[in-house]
């Protein structure tokens, strides 16, 4: 299997990609690259210049932020078929806002974010599909973040008498 065939085969496994027209799937394949990462391998660090948006094919990728005195805090893990590094596709964010590291041996596909943006600009129908997908991702991330923010498993405060 040629590298391009392999990429094509992997993309077809991703549930969301199954809905794409062959033309669009080809365009995505052209800007894609596959990465195998060992546990502990870093995809990007906070502050890096953005290049790729990724979809996890196998394994688990953690997103983290380094907090002085606390070390790296993991706030999300991306599981198979999940996207990470999505802010690189947005028009305004130009550096990584979190780090990404393979928690276990992982296999991911990256898409050149700049080229993906250009594809979206050139074909607004396709761009709409991509941005709609991104909106879903952002919404679910926000929900997770909110629930984490609530710290719902924290010990309740002691009762105060009125």
């Amino acid at each position: 299997m040629s590298p391009q065939d392999e990429i094509f085969a992997e993309l077809q496994k991703i549930p969301w990609f199954r809905g794409l027209q062959p033309k669009h799937l080809n365009q995505m394949a052209e800007i894609a690259s596959l990465h195998r990462a060992r546990a502990g391998e870093v995809f990007f660090r906070e502050g890096d210049k953005e290049d790729n948006v990724y979809v996890v094919l196998e394994g688990r990728v953690a997103l983290d932020i380094f907090v002085p005195h606390r070390g790296k805090v993991r706030f999300y893990t991306a599981e198979p078929w999940e996207v990470f590094g999505w802010s690189s596709v947005t028009p305004t964010v130009h550096q990584r806002t979190a780090g990404a590291v393979a928690v276990i041996d992982s296999f991911v596909v990256g898409f050149d974010a700049e080229k993906l943006r250009q594809l979206c600009e050139a074909d607004h129908d396709f761009g709409y599909l991509v941005m709609r997908r991104l909106a879903n991702i952002v919404a679910s991330r926000l929900m997770v973040t909110r629930l984490q923010l609530l710290d719902m498993f924290a010990n309740p405060p002691e009762m105060k008498n009125d």
């Binding site: 309740p156 405060p157 009762m159 008498n161 009125d162």
Partner: protein, 374 residues
């Protein structure tokens, strides 16, 4: 004077002093006779021994946040409308000792309180009050759980009922279908006229007690006087509560802004729940001694207006007064029916009279209704 025997369902005329003998017979029979007494500018329920203990010649006037007694100069015993107390304090005592836990050589033991429950004769139970007792019967004597204290006290209870002839402004029993005249559920039921009591017989015990007294068959004149008095009493009740679709209305109004409005006025003082003859919530508290080796466990009245009422380890379910008032009113007039088959309100008006903020449920329900109609 007649040598006829009274029978269940029959009505006789009893000279007023004869009631003293009836009370004495009840006491001889082991009953603690409790009834209305004038005390501290109000009417309370306490032990009474004779007619002389009753609040003679007293009428009452009630309106939101106000209860006033006036002397009529007459000799009648039951012209007032009851005060803040209700009979529930006797069947469901505000404080009941349950048991004492005692630590002996490192292990806890339990001394159960096996005090015998007193046998009460309630003298002067109003129709709305009897309806309230019947509601509490459903609460405390369910098929799947029966409160032993309540059951014992209720089983031994003698009810001498009184029909209301002078309702007050806060009364709305006619809306709730509970009064002002009694229908059933009593041992004996009085209608007071100037000279005599008209007595209806409701039970065998009532009949046998009455049989020992001197009584007359009521004349047509007396009967008409009594009927007129009851009719005029019913007519004099002008306060209303429209119960049509009320449970649904309340459940559809849970998000109404009205609750916040009431919440601003309500002091969450719990008066309404304490004076309510049907409110049944209770708490259990532990009273440990200083050594920590014994702890007395008591049951005490509680109220959904107390902040601790809905406290749990995760926090407070109803931290705001708005939500606590909503709980009280929706329970009373809506979910109570789901739980016990009838609403929890008998129209006695106590919650209106004794609310220091003059919150009046007969005003709040129409307000909610108007909102839903919009």
């Amino acid at each position: 004077m007649t040598d006829q025997q009274p029978s269940i369902g029959s009505t006789v005329a009893l000279a007023k002093p004869e009631l003293d003998g009836l009370l004495a017979d009840l006491r001889r029979g082991g009953f603690r006779t409790v009834g209305p007494r004038a005390r501290d500018e109000g009417i309370v329920y306490a032990e009474i021994e004779s007619l002389a203990d009753l609040p003679r010649g007293i009428q009452t006037a009630q309106k939101p946040a106000s209860y006033r007694m006036t002397q009529t100069g007459q000799n009648r015993c039951f012209d007032f409308i009851p005060g803040s107390q209700s009979w529930k304090q006797f069947l469901f005592p505000p404080r009941t000792e349950l048991f004492t836990a005692r630590k002996e050589s490192g292990k806890w033991k339990l001394d159960e309180n096996i005090e015998e429950q007193p046998r009460y004769a309630f003298i002067g139970v109003r129709a709305c009050e009897l309806a309230a007792i019947e509601i509490q019967d459903r609460v405390f004597m369910r098929p799947d759980f029966t409160d032993p204290v309540y059951r014992a006290r209720r089983a031994g209870l003698f009810i001498l009922a009184v029909n209301c002839t002078h309702p007050n402004d806060t009364c709305f029993c006619t809306s709730m279908g509970t009064g002002p005249a009694h229908k059933a559920g009593y041992d004996l039921c009085l209608t007071e006229l100037d000279e005599v009591f008209l007595v209806q017989v409701g039970s065998e015990l009532g009949r046998s007690l009455l049989a020992k007294r001197t009584f007359d068959l009521p004349s047509a004149f007396v009967q008409k006087n009594a009927a007129d008095a009851l009719e005029s009493a019913a007519r004099s009740i002008t306060r209303t509560l429209d119960t049509d679709g009320l449970p649904e209305l309340l459940m559809d109004s849970l998000e109404s802004g009205r609750w916040a409005e009431i919440g601003k006025r309500c002091l969450s003082c719990a008066n309404c729940t304490l004076v309510c003859p049907t409110c049944f919530c209770w708490d259990a508290t532990d009273l440990p001694d200083l050594t920590g080796k014994t702890a007395r466990r008591e049951r005490v009245w509680d109220s959904c207006f107390n902040l601790q009422y809905s406290y749990m380890a995760g926090g407070n379910t109803r931290p705001t007064i708005r939500s606590r008032y909503r709980q009280w009113l929706t329970h009373k007039l809506s979910t109570w029916k789901d739980q016990f088959g009838v609403p929890g309100c008998v129209g006695c008006g106590r919650c209106i009279t004794w609310c220091p903020a003059s919150i009046d449920l007969t005003e709040e329900i129409p307000a909610l209704r108007a909102e839903v109609k919009k």
